[in-house]
């Protein structure tokens, strides 16, 4: 054991410099050329930074498209999911409440048409996306609140939809923050 102790300590110190010192500094340096300069990509609206592209936000007003339920209330100082089991009775009660709230705000929508992600909490609590279906289903409410034509909103959602990678890998997504900014800029 003794024979190996000193080499172990010295090698550890050297590797610390290489792997924990130089390596992340180098990545930080290269990332200066990336969007957001390695500090996360921000989104501006009316000349003000209103959020991060990849961090979801809470939208509760009828005139905006809502984000998914979040267990951390979209405060990105932390992150978290519900960790509720599929059969947990308390959890199912919460889901039922979310369905009722959604139906109260969206009287034109039939229960069977509510996409599951609008009544279930995301993993991160910061999910910035919706599926296109979850955006479409909110169109009648937003249209009524803003006095706009639903067709126009549908076009907006379609324009904001990001197709799968190479058109065939993974799901289609809509970034809620960007969609709502586009919505505000429409008028």
């Amino acid at each position: 054991m003794k024979k190996y102790l000193l080499p172990s300590i010295k090698l550890t110190v050297l590797l610390l410099v290489l792997l924990a010192g130089i390596y992340p500094l180098m990545i930080a340096g290269i990332a200066k050329m990336a969007p957001g300069k390695g500090g996360g990509v921000t989104v501006t609206h009316n000349g003000k930074v209103v959020g991060y592209e990849n961090i979801g936000q809470k939208f509760t007003e009828d005139k905006y498209f809502w984000s998914r339920p979040s267990t951390v209330d979209y405060n990105a100082a932390g992150s978290g999911g519900s960790n509720k089991a599929p059969g947990n009775p308390d959890y199912l009660k919460t889901v039922q409440e979310r369905i009722d709230t959604f139906l109260a705000h969206n009287p034109d929508v039939k229960r069977a048409d509510i996409p599951a992600e609008l009544v279930t909490a995301s993993a991160s609590g910061l999910d910035p996306h919706l599926s296109p279906a979850a955006a479409y289903v909110q169109i009648p409410r937003v249209a009524k609140a803003r006095g706009m034509a639903p067709e126009k909103l549908k076009q907006l959602v379609d324009a904001s939809t990001k197709a799968p990678v190479l058109g065939m890998l993974g799901p289609s997504t809509v970034n809620v923050l960007k969609l709502n900014i586009a919505l505000d800029e429409l008028k």
Binding site: M1, Y4, L5, S8, L11, T12, L14, L15, L16, L19, A20, G21, P24, I27, A28, I30, A31, A34, G36, G38, G39, G40, V50, Y52, E53, N54, G56, Q57, K58, Y74, A77, S79, G80, G81, S82, N83, K84, A85, P86, G87, N88, Y91, V95, A112, D113, P115, A116, V119, A121, A123, S124, L126, D127, H129, A133, P164, V165, G170, P171, D184
Partner: protein, 572 residues
């Protein structure tokens, strides 16, 4: 859903395409042949010179293990004290506190053993200094430790009769400089250009569209996320790991991280065949591992895509599958694939919460970690599989009434005893741990810990039991994922899982290295008509049967109480 399933298939295909050339490269590096990365050689020589190491000195298997254990001990002491006193050290822009002794003990061990069970949250429980200089550092070197142990076994396979099995320091350092670091740089750059933060800036504050003020945690995460996957570590920069939209911003990064975590384990299987020049032997192993993976993956993806029956019962259609604890940009198919891969190869990173997956998925996740040998973690996956091969050879030998042989060496009582002990160790640690925690929960629900036992479980009934079973299974497999609803941030869980982690890591490394070393020192017996062929499909099927039977016998009762019972209560 079609594009989501296509995405999974494409990602697996891409992994195989990359694993093949990587395997060739690994073989070249450890055979000492010329490669493009030889420009690192002067740096390695400098490191050896300063450290007073002669990299040409050949070691026996015992010397290998002594060196390995010594340097691991150094890392443990270093990590423990750094985590405890991180609040007094620099690079702490968010002002996070030091860890308590029991939490530092658990965190240090957990990263030391390539597990990355995290009983803290990345945003508040560690500082940039400890993230980089303790956790990311250990993610590199713990992966290199596993690979170094495996290369010793490769060398023992290759030689006809020898006690000289290469130099530990040489293999270990080259794993870092030639394999992990270059690949990490590529992956980190891909992540950084897709939106993962890499700068050292602290939290940012923004006022949102609706006028709420929120903080956004950041930090030099891109490099960390790269090694967390490449080294099959799994510990996340942020609390929710790769479900966090900064840690895993889009489907491209999802594919990148997915390929990164499984490419070395698969490449190692191919490398085995090339290194010892028994390619068919490696193909059979790869075949068994892949079939094993599919047996776990298909039920998982089916269950997740079909959604939660209890929510369907409320009249919700779930066209996008079971979405609780999942992110829209990945969806149920990708999250299901990730959950299978991360549990078979002991990464333990997540892109959706396992606690909220369907009971069938939970069963598959638990089984995957109990088996822990389909591809498996960096280096250690094949070591675990090797133990099953020993058992399979032994049983086959008994069946035909002949002294069993493997790779031209007799397999005798001592080796079989070691293999048997290692096989029995996992069920012992997992089941004894779960029994102990269940007992404490039932008899001392009000014990005065940071989280009282009565508040441990986030879910009632069978699933609550699964949360405890999962925690010990994950610890023993050095996996690091969790049914995260479990209130594990207290002295009971920190200490008990800490010990399971150490035993579950080092004994399954010592055992196979010892067996391989002992076998290699024996007289070489040339193959004859009477030799049991270990590179045949029959033998592959035999190994698979051994794996399934041993696992089923050991774990069925516990699984029946957890996910199986939950399944039948949910799908009535």
């Amino acid at each position: 859903m079609t594009t989501e399933i296509l995405g999974v298939i494409a990602t697996y295909g891409l992994t195989l395409l990359l694993a093949w050339p990587l395997a060739r490269y690994i073989v070249k590096v450890f055979n000492g042949e010329k490669t493009w990365s030889d420009f690192m050689a002067p740096l390695e020589r400098l490191f050896f010179k300063i450290s007073g190491i002669n990299p040409k000195e050949e070691m026996t298997w015992k010397e290998h293990l002594k060196a390995l254990l010594t340097i691991n001990l150094v890392w443990f002491v270093y990590a423990f004290f750094m985590l405890m006193f991180q609040d007094k050290l620099p690079l702490n822009p968010d002002g996070n506190p030091g860890q308590s002794a029991d939490l530092a003990f658990n965190t240090a061990i957990s990263f030391l053993v390539n597990c990355n069970l995290q009983h803290y949250s990345g945003e508040t429980g560690v500082t940039y200094l400890t993230q980089l200089f303790v956790l990311a550092f250990l993610q590199f070197v713990s992966a290199a430790t596993g690979i170094a142990a495996l290369i010793v076994v490769f060398k023992a396979f290759k030689e006809k009769s020898t006690t000289k099995l290469g130099n530990f320091w040489d293999i270990f350092l080259k794993t870092n400089t030639r394999l992990l670091l270059p690949l990490c740089i590529v992956i980190a750059i891909i992540l950084a250009f897709n939106g993962t933060p890499a700068s050292y800036d602290g939290k940012d504050t923004v006022v949102t569209m609706q006028g709420d003020t929120v903080n956004v945690s950041r930090g030099p995460a891109a490099g960390f996320v790269a090694i967390k996957h490449l080294g099959t570590n799994g510990g996340g920069w942020f609390g929710v790991n790769s479900a966090h939209p900064l840690e895993n911003p889009n489907y491209v990064t999802w594919m990148t991280e997915m390929v990164a975590q499984v490419v070395i384990p698969i490449a190692m299987v191919f490398a085995l065949g090339m290194f010892v020049n028994r390619r068919k032997f490696a193909y059979v192993i790869f075949g068994v591992m892949t079939i094993g993976m599919l047996c776990l993956l298909i039920p998982t993806m089916t269950a997740e895509i079909n959604g939660n029956p209890a929510i369907a019962h409320m009249g919700i259609q779930q066209a996008t599958g079971a979405m609780e604890g999942k992110e829209v940009r990945f969806g149920p198919a990708a999250t299901g694939y990730w959950s299978t891969v991360t549990t078979i190869i002991s990464t333990g990173s997540i892109c959706g919460f396992h606690d909220s997956t369907m009971p069938m998925t939970g069963l598959m996740e638990l089984l995957a970690m109990m088996l822990n040998c389909f591809y498996g973690g960096c280096g250690v996956g094949i070591l675990n599989y090797y133990i099953f091969i020993i058992i399979a050879v032994f049983i086959s030998g008994l069946m035909v009434g002949r002294t069993p042989e493997l790779m031209g060496h007799k397999l005798e009582a001592r080796e079989v005893k070691i293999a048997a002990i290692i096989t029995l160790l996992s069920p012992f640690l997992i089941l004894a741990g779960t029994a102990l925690s269940s007992w404490v929960l039932a008899h001392h629900p009000e014990a005065n810990w940071a989280v009282k036992p009565s508040a441990w479980l986030n879910n009632p009934g069978y699933h609550g039991f699964s949360e405890m079973l999962y925690e010990y299974t994950s610890s023993n497999a050095n996996n690091g994922s969790g049914f995260e609803g479990l209130g594990d941030g207290n002295v009971f869980w920190n200490v008990t899982t800490g010990f399971v982690l150490i035993l579950g890591r080092f004994l399954p490394i010592i055992g196979p290295v010892a067996i391989a070393g002992l076998m290699a020192s024996k007289k070489f017996i040339p193959e004859s008509a009477g030799t049991l062929r270990t590179d045949s499909i029959t033998f592959g099927a035999m190994t698979f049967a051994v794996i399934v039977i041993l696992t089923a016998l050991a774990y069925f009762p516990a699984l029946a109480l957890g996910p199986i019972a939950e399944y039948f209560s949910l799908y009535r």
